[in-house]
Symmetry: none
Subunit: 135 residues, 4 copies
């Protein structure tokens, strides 16, 4: 079984951001859920080829957000009580399928991943301010 985590060293997104967001996404997808054990800091660091401190930091930040629970001498566990925020399999498949189509479309059009990400970010932000505006 291949790892569920992967880091893109060539991305301008910092390693710790990538890792943190991946864990969040796996939890939202329901792949990781309440009480599941996370890999040890060292194991994950070796697996990703990053420094152990980087993993430690991610775990610490996620703990501060109430997403993970660190138990000294035992391990790290998923600690996300908000069931409402978990995507259904159907939702995730829909999102995932759309992302794949979008990526293919952009690659055929000669856009870079960075341009797409920029567009996604802008659109997200606009969508938010639109919602606020409608209040």
């Amino acid at each position: 079984m291949p790892s569920r985590f992967h880091i893109d060293r060539s991305s301008p997104r910092p390693v710790y951001v990538q890792l943190q967001d991946q864990i969040q996404l796996l939890i939202h997808r329901g792949v990781l859920s309440q009480g599941d054990p996370m890999p040890t800091v060292r194991a994950l660091a070796v697996e990703l080829g990053v420094n152990a401190n980087t993993v430690t930091r991610v775990y610490r930040d996620l703990q501060a957000q109430g997403v993970l629970r660190l138990e000294r001498g035992v391990g790290t566990f998923v600690d996300e009580p908000k069931e409402a925020q978990t995507l259904t399999t159907r939702e995730y498949q829909s999102i995932s399928k759309r992302v794949e189509e979008l990526v293919t479309l952009c690659q055929r059009s000669g856009l870079t991943s960075r341009e797409l990400i920029q567009l996604v970010g802008s659109t997200w932000k606009e969508s938010q301010s639109d919602s606020k505006g409608r209040k």
Copy 2:
């Protein structure tokens, strides 16, 4: 008419990366094309609320890539001869529409923009390695 450029200071993406990608995207969309004048370094810096050096760096990097042309004492101009890389209006509208739908879907599902961007990045990378693998 609002500015065509905007920076999200809360994003983990560095300011200069955001700006660079926006300019690239505007050129690919054909909004900016060969010979068009860019805002002056200082004007854009004020408009975005960033330091002039940051804009200078972006312009300089894009010049190194052959995307912009900087003329001392005159100004900065678009210098992108690759007509083939310009998206048609139809292509851009298609991409843009899909991005909007995707963003709405994710927001309803409780995903964060960072999780979506993470997903886009991973999907893009997999798509690339798939293509290579098929060779």
Copy 3:
């Protein structure tokens, strides 16, 4: 052993250009080769009496050209795979000897270093356009 790097503050050539060309030359001479560690940004800045940002810019530009490899938290390394572009000791000694003779000759004749450099630049450019013309 004196430093391999030195900046001439009285030259009209910008500091970062001087440094960049020196590093390139040391690599072409084979003095620096694949995998060799470069001085840290801060150390080199102190050594040359310039600001750390200036060194950063040089390292960054050379990374963009594939000449150096910057590793965050680790250091900076030579990353020049083009073995073919390395001068032999014999070639370098020949060039170096001719330059010394030329400099001596010009100094005896009352030329300034700027005039010599101007002459070298013009000659180089003419030589190039001659080659193109012959095509």
Copy 4:
């Protein structure tokens, strides 16, 4: 007859430095000598495709150095009394020939013009400090 002056816009050497050094060199070579008329500021500006202010500045700087003489309403003339600093035709031909050989050699070896210029500059400076050291 082609112009005796030429500017390389792609060089990192500022336009005014290139022009100033060329004029100096032509005087040292004896191509221009005491009392010879220089082109008018406007004519030279048009010929080189640079701004008239740039030429004006070069003429002004060279006047300050006693190299040129500006006569209002009349024109600009060479004003270099130091006969001793004029190269003989033989000296110039020797230098010129050596520069050509050197340039050819470097081009064959894969050096850039900037690397050669860097080497010339360093060698010149070392040669000077050697002379001082011997005092």
